[in-house]
């Protein structure tokens, strides 16, 4: 069990009291003990212990990058927090998981990036629908905040702004 301490949420650094359950070697999703309090559990644990966890309001779920939003089926709306793990910076599946959760499954709760979450990836993460960032512990979270404002406009639509630039503004013509 780890707690994340502070996270970036809605563009500011806030204290965070959710803890993150990661399966240790030998842990089985069906039998691992889910502690009391606000806990983000792996998707596999949620699916295996769904009946037992269903009544708890303080449960969130997190996706590994190789897991599918579809596996959550209609449960997305039950959570106030869903997290997506980035096992390494170069594993970009989390961006599509977020896109699908937000635009296909209508998830409106907190969407948190966990794992290798660094300043220079935050802008894209924010665009696809993340609104909370558990910045890697060894990094200065206040510095990371700057990453959210690298660009003031974008060409293409995404979760944050569905309209591409050409539909949102009067673009110039050749001079």
């Amino acid at each position: 069990m780890t707690t994340t301490g502070q996270i970036i949420k809605n563009k500011s650094v806030v204290d965070d009291d959710w803890s993150l359950l990661r399966l240790a070697e030998g842990d089985a999703p069906e039998s691992v003990a889910v502690p009391a309090g606000k806990v983000l559990v792996p998707l596999t644990v949620w699916l295996a212990q769904r009946d037992a966890l269903l009544h708890r309001a303080d449960i969130g779920v997190w996706f590994a990058s190789n897991e599918r939003v579809e596996d959550l089926q209609d449960d997305a709306a039950k959570f106030s927090v869903i997290a997506v793990d980035f096992p390494k910076v170069g594993d970009g599946r989390g961006y599509t998981i977020a896109t699908r959760l937000r635009t296909r499954f209508g998830y409106h709760g907190e969407l948190r990036a966990i794992g290798e979450v660094l300043r220079d990836q935050l802008f894209y993460m924010q665009r696809v629908g993340f609104d909370a960032f558990a910045v890697r512990a060894d990094k200065d979270i206040h510095d990371a905040l700057n990453g959210l404002s690298d660009f003031s406009i974008s060409y293409q639509g995404s979760t944050d702004e569905a309209q591409p630039l050409f539909s949102r503004v009067e673009r110039g013509v050749a001079r």
Partner: protein, 581 residues
């Protein structure tokens, strides 16, 4: 060509500021190399043997004279006076210092250029036909769509960390000069029975370690929907493309693994959420972008220029150049001219700052101030009056840009190879030089005719050796450089993957191997038949038989100390043949 509006300028400026800060943090140690690597790659910076290499985007190969002058300036200021054109119609500088990179990006932004996504596992520069807009066989000018694709893919937040790089290519002509069959996504602009414009979409083509010809996923996607459709393709790839093995991560492996029908089903299942949504291209956006690609002010001229016709009879060297370096134009009295960057003794695709400036001046004078970088690593002036051809030829000659070898054996596509690249098993540039020297006889080259010869220094196939008529691949055998030879590849209309002729050869044998292949061709060819056509007709067997019939001699000259000194593994302090050293 496309011109930035205030929004493009703002995005470019914000990119420069972002990278400047990232470089600052790298130099201060705040960012570790493994964190910085993905950031620098998406700004075109590779670490090579001697220095950083910076790859600058030339979107769909189109460049203005002003931009080319800026590149000349960059070559002088930050490099060793040279640039190198690439097969994705970009340009590379090989001697860049990290601390200079942000300033280079700022210089580029001033002339509406960038190095965005020229490397990394993201959507790369879209390539197209170097004769787009002027080719007589063109149905629709692909450039507005290429620009729309550029903007859509630039900093696409969902697709910056794909399983592997991702390449689009687009053609609007009946002859495919954009190699759409060997790109991750190939787009062919077509008209349907109602005359509406759309795209035939190919997916899963690619070269590298596993060459695959793309498969049609859709026969007709109306142009309005091409971004949402492309987005669904890339999204499915992002989710399901393999990430456990670098060599199996391209979309071609995914499409092969699940089959085109299942892949199409997944794409369409995703597309139904976005089709007709906000990503649909509007007529007004297409109009706005298309307005940048209108025809220049052509004069009304006769179909053929009489002076040129006379010169073709009286001046053999002009006629040689005209035959190879001048292409047909859809407008009467005009022609497209290719400047060869394949002079014997110069690394294929290399261009000096002085040549860039000369080419820019000639484009201003003779071709409405625009040029195109070709995937063959040459430069095109697309709108030249035939009446100006003689003057242009003289000027190009004076600047070393008029080698009459376009499409011939010495128009070699070549990667940096072992002389520069950390991935290479063998030297490419040096071998290209040896080949060019051996066959440096224009009459012989003309007699052999159309022949694509490509040299890749390793299996990553940057020089597309699989789709060359003669492909040469550097391989490593117990730390020594050897070369495997394929024949029968073709880059398009239709594309085919070459077949390996047999066991590999040493560096010094290769010119003789090529000579033997050409002897078989000369013996077997029918009247007017190109090398590739002969190979297709006879199969590779007669070639294999002759090449391996007796031991292939080494070219003694290539064993002399000055050639030997260029061997991989020897200190690079020795003077290599490239003028850059």
């Amino acid at each position: 060509m496309y011109r930035y509006d205030n929004f493009d300028h703002r995005i470019a400026a914000e990119r420069v500021a972002q990278f400047r800060d990232q470089v600052r943090r790298r130099l201060s140690g705040e960012l570790k190399e493994d964190e910085f690597r993905v950031l620098r790659l998406q700004n075109g910076l590779y670490m090579q043997i001697h220095a950083y290499m910076m790859r600058i985007a030339v979107p769909y190969g189109l460049i203005s004279a002003r931009q080319l002058r800026k590149l000349a300036n960059i070559a002088r200021k930050y490099d060793r006076n040279f640039g190198h054109f690439t097969t994705r119609q970009n340009i590379q500088f090989n001697w860049v210092k990290l601390q200079d990179a942000p300033d280079i990006l700022a210089d580029l932004a001033a002339v509406e250029m960038h190095a965005n996504q020229t490397s990394g596992n993201c959507i790369r520069n879209t390539t197209t036909d170097e004769f787009a807009g002027v080719a007589p066989d063109e149905i629709v000018d692909p450039r507005p769509y290429a620009e729309i694709l550029r903007q859509w893919s630039t900093f696409h937040p969902e697709f910056a960390y794909l399983p592997r790089k991702f390449k689009f290519s687009i053609t609007g002509a009946t002859t495919d000069r954009a190699a759409i069959e060997v790109n991750d996504v190939g787009l062919q602009v077509v008209r349907n029975a109602q005359g509406e414009i759309g795209f035939r979409v190919l997916v899963g083509g690619g070269l590298g370690r596993t060459p695959v010809i793309g498969t049609e996923i859709a026969a007709f996607i109306p142009w309005q929907h091409i971004l949402t459709y492309a987005e669904s393709i890339v999204r499915v790839f992002n989710e399901y493309g393999r990430r456990d093995n670098l060599y199996k991560a391209r979309i071609k492996i995914l499409v092969k693994a699940i089959g085109i029908d299942e892949f199409r089903r997944q794409v369409e299942a995703d597309w139904k959420f976005t089709k007709d949504g906000p990503g649909t291209i509007t007529q007004s956006e297409l109009n706005r972008v298309s307005a940048c690609f209108t025809a220049p002010d052509y004069e009304k001229l006769p179909e053929n220029d009489a002076v040129v016709a006379a010169l073709l009879q009286s001046n053999k060297s002009f006629a040689n150049w005209h035959q190879r370096n001048v292409s047909a134009h859809k407008v009467p009295g005009y022609a497209a001219v290719t400047f060869s960057c394949k002079r014997t003794g110069v690394a294929p695709g290399d261009i000096s700052a002085e040549q860039m400036e000369a080419a820019a001046d000639l484009a201003d004078r003779y071709s409405f101030g625009e040029l195109r970088v070709t995937h063959m690593q040459n430069l095109v002036l697309a709108d030249v009056k035939q009446a100006d051809l003689l003057a242009l030829w003289e000027a190009a000659k004076a600047n070393g840009l008029a080698t009459p070898n376009i499409g011939l054996l010495t128009d070699i596509i070549c990667c940096p190879g072992g002389d520069y690249c950390t991935l290479a098993n063998a030297r490419s540039i040096t071998l290209a030089k040896a080949i060019a020297e051996r066959f440096d006889d224009i009459d012989y080259l003309q007699d052999i005719g159309d022949l694509d010869l490509n040299i890749s220094g390793c299996v990553n196939a940057c020089s597309h050796h699989h789709v060359a008529h003669i492909g040469i691949l550097g391989v490593d055998k117990s730390g020594e450089e050897w070369y495997q030879v394929t024949i029968g590849g073709n880059k398009g209309s239709p594309a085919s993957v070459g077949k390996i002729i047999g066991r590999s050869f040493s560096f010094a044998q290769i010119p003789n191997v090529i000579e033997r292949l050409l002897q078989v061709y000369a013996r077997e060819r029918d009247e007017g038949e190109r090398f590739i056509d002969t190979v297709r007709r006879t199969g590779i067997e007669p070639f294999v038989e002759f090449v391996y019939a007796t031991p292939v001699a080494v070219d003694e000259k290539l064993l002399l100390p000055d050639y030997e000194a260029q061997g991989k593994g020897l200190p690079y302090a020795v003077s290599l043949y490239s003028p850059r050293f």
